[in-house]
């Protein structure tokens, strides 16, 4: 399934970095995204856009993951010439990721 079916997301900029929050709809969903959506996976996924290091933080009490993608905006929104100079649509891009589920997890859904 796509990550979009398990979680929603909002992203924005701070300086040259894109900051993406990811929120699972359910506690089971949180366990899945915590396992599947690792910093390494997110770094590899966004690599074609030209990015620096990716850090991940967890806030389990609200079923949330936070990704900070460094040096992703050509020096920052105000000097970027991208259409999406603030990284507002990176949230949508992240939700395209395919999530592997085990058969037991699927039957719970």
């Amino acid at each position: 399934m796509k990550l979009k079916d398990l979680a929603f997301s909002r992203s924005s900029d701070k300086g040259d970095h894109v900051d993406i929050s990811l929120f699972a709809y359910t506690e089971e969903g949180y366990r899945l995204i915590e396992r599947e959506v690792t910093a390494e996976r997110v770094a590899a996924y966004f690599a074609p856009l030209g990015i620096g290091a990716v850090e991940r933080f967890e806030v389990p009490s609200i079923w949330a993951l936070k990704f900070v993608i460094r040096n992703a905006l050509d020096g920052g929104a105000s000097r970027s010439i991208r259409a999406d100079n603030q990284g507002k649509t990176w949230s949508g891009a992240l939700l395209r990721i395919e999530i592997q589920t085990h058969s037991s997890e699927r039957s719970e859904d």
Binding site: F8, S9, R10, S12, D13, K14, G15, H17, D19, S21, F23, Y25, Y45, F46, P48, L49, E55, F57, E58, V59, S61, I62, W63, A64, K66, V68, D74, G75, G76, A77, S78, R79, S80, I81, R82, A83, D84, T89, S91, G92, A93, R96
Partner: protein, 452 residues
């Protein structure tokens, strides 16, 4: 009984609507409304205003906002706090005073000054870059447009102590605008990190106005009611630190577990260490409980000591962006747009235009997700727009891009139409964040009172 204060957000950025503030004044039962006008780049816009006219340099929405809201707010005893001062808090206060006279209301306005440090940057050199550690290069300093320190809540508390109905500041940390009235009303000491954390989380949740009441909601957004009359957020805060997030009654939008958790983590980077001048927030143990419709309680927030130094931000001129946009219809929409891209690249080369970067995006296909867009759609597009953008060091070169696009409506691939975005040359702004000692900043902070 524990005393409760209701603080609302009246504005989330320069350009936001102030009609929700008016609704809040009428129906929100609030004690304070805080207005957040200054995004990271707003000061660059204000610097250009001030260069044209030294009496400007504050956000121009202040005057119409006060004209619309102030009489009723004043009658109800609602106190207003605004960072509309930008680069000229005194000028903003003078303008506000003129509004008070025009409305025939009595007003006391307190102005907080001392955040602007461009004129005294020598005191803060070498102004090491906050992330790279590099000292500020002279050639960047010469192109500086503004340099301001993010002040905390304490000067605003001082301003409230003067009995002001309206407090006007320049750059302060966004959340501090909201912490200040709570600290002032409850007499919360600034060394009580737990209470500082609670007041700061209130500010963080409210500072982006409708982003916590269902606007820009990534979840089940189509279920959020009546975005055409979305209500702005209100925090109900008790002296003991109990926080409930709600909004103006009988308005659109929603306050829920989903809308609050989404704004809670917005732009915070490390949720265990969200840094403000007043406190470092740890949000990692947060609890959110839905108490009823549009009422969410926030608890579990932890505070750590604030950083020893202030954050400052210097903005500088960093070249120009020129761009042109043109559309093509089916059949072969993308193929035609790509042919135009190739023509433009050849023209740039032939004219020897000194462009530093070319960025090509196809609106309707990959302008947002770039290489991550789904390529399966490429062959079937009903229509697509080419956006051809360049980075240059001078304005003239940037302007040539739209000029060379115009003749291609007749002289390029077929079905070109809907050309938009000509003359959208834009000055680009580089940003240089640094940490500065608090001492010399604090010594220069002044609170002045104007009355009518």
């Amino acid at each position: 009984m524990t005393r409760t204060i209701r603080v609302g957000c009246g504005l989330g950025f320069y350009g936001d609507t102030f009609l929700p503030a008016l609704e809040m004044i009428k129906k929100g039962s609030v004690d304070y409304i805080c207005f957040e006008h200054l995004a990271e780049l707003t000061l660059a816009i204000l610097q250009k205003d001030r260069q044209r006219n030294p009496s400007e340099g504050y956000t121009k929405d202040l005057v119409p906002m006060l004209q619309a809201c102030w009489r009723e707010a004043s009658a109800k005893g609602i106190r207003l706090i605004s960072n509309a001062g930008g680069l000229n808090p005194r000028g903003a206060a003078e303008a506000a005073l003129a509004v008070a006279r025009e409305l025939g209301i009595k007003a006391r306005i307190a102005v907080v000054e001392g955040d602007a440090i461009l004129d005294r940057l020598d005191e803060f050199l070498p102004f090491h870059h906050m992330e790279t550690g590099e000292p500020l290069p002279e050639q960047i300093r010469q192109r500086a447009l503004f340099a301001n320190v993010y002040l905390g809540a304490q000067p605003i508390v001082e301003a409230l102590k003067t009995g002001a109905d309206l407090v006007i500041t320049g750059r302060v940390a966004d959340a501090s605008l909201f912490l200040a009235p709570l600290a002032y009303e409850f007499g919360w000491p600034f060394n009580d990190l737990q209470l500082m954390a609670i007041g700061t989380v209130v500010g963080h949740l409210l500072e982006c106005s409708s982003q916590v009441t269902g606007g820009n909601h990534g979840g089940r957004w189509e279920e959020i009611p009546d975005l055409d009359r979305i209500g702005f957020p209100i925090a109900e805060v008790s002296e003991d630190g109990t926080v409930i997030i709600t909004k103006t009654p009988d308005t659109g939008g929603r306050v829920s577990f989903d809308t609050v958790r989404e704004q809670l983590l917005y732009e915070v980077h490390d949720p265990r260490a969200y840094i403000t001048p007043d406190v470092v927030l740890d949000l990692s143990q947060v609890r959110l409980s839905e108490l009823g419709p549009d009422r969410v309680q926030v608890s579990g927030i932890v505070g750590h000591p604030p950083p020893e130094r202030y954050k400052a931000l210097l903005g500088y001129e960093d070249g120009y962006m020129g761009q042109a946009v043109i559309g093509y219809s089916w059949p072969e929409a993308l193929k035609k747009a790509k042919a135009t891209e190739a023509i433009l690249r050849r023209l740039v080369e032939r004219m020897r235009l000194p462009v530093q970067e070319i960025r090509v995006e196809y609106l309707g296909y990959d302008s947002f997700h770039g290489a991550l867009a789904d390529p399966a759609q490429a062959e079937h597009l009903n229509e697509v727009y080419l956006r051809f953008a360049v980075r240059t060091t001078d304005r003239w070169t940037a302007e040539q891009i739209s000029r060379m696009m115009v003749p291609l409506a007749l002289g390029g691939p077929p079905t070109a139409s809907g050309s938009i975005g000509f003359d959208r040359t834009r000055a680009l702004i580089g940003i240089w964040p640094a940490l500065v000692d608090r001492g010399p900043v604090d010594e220069s902070i002044r609170v002045k009172v104007l009355e009518v």
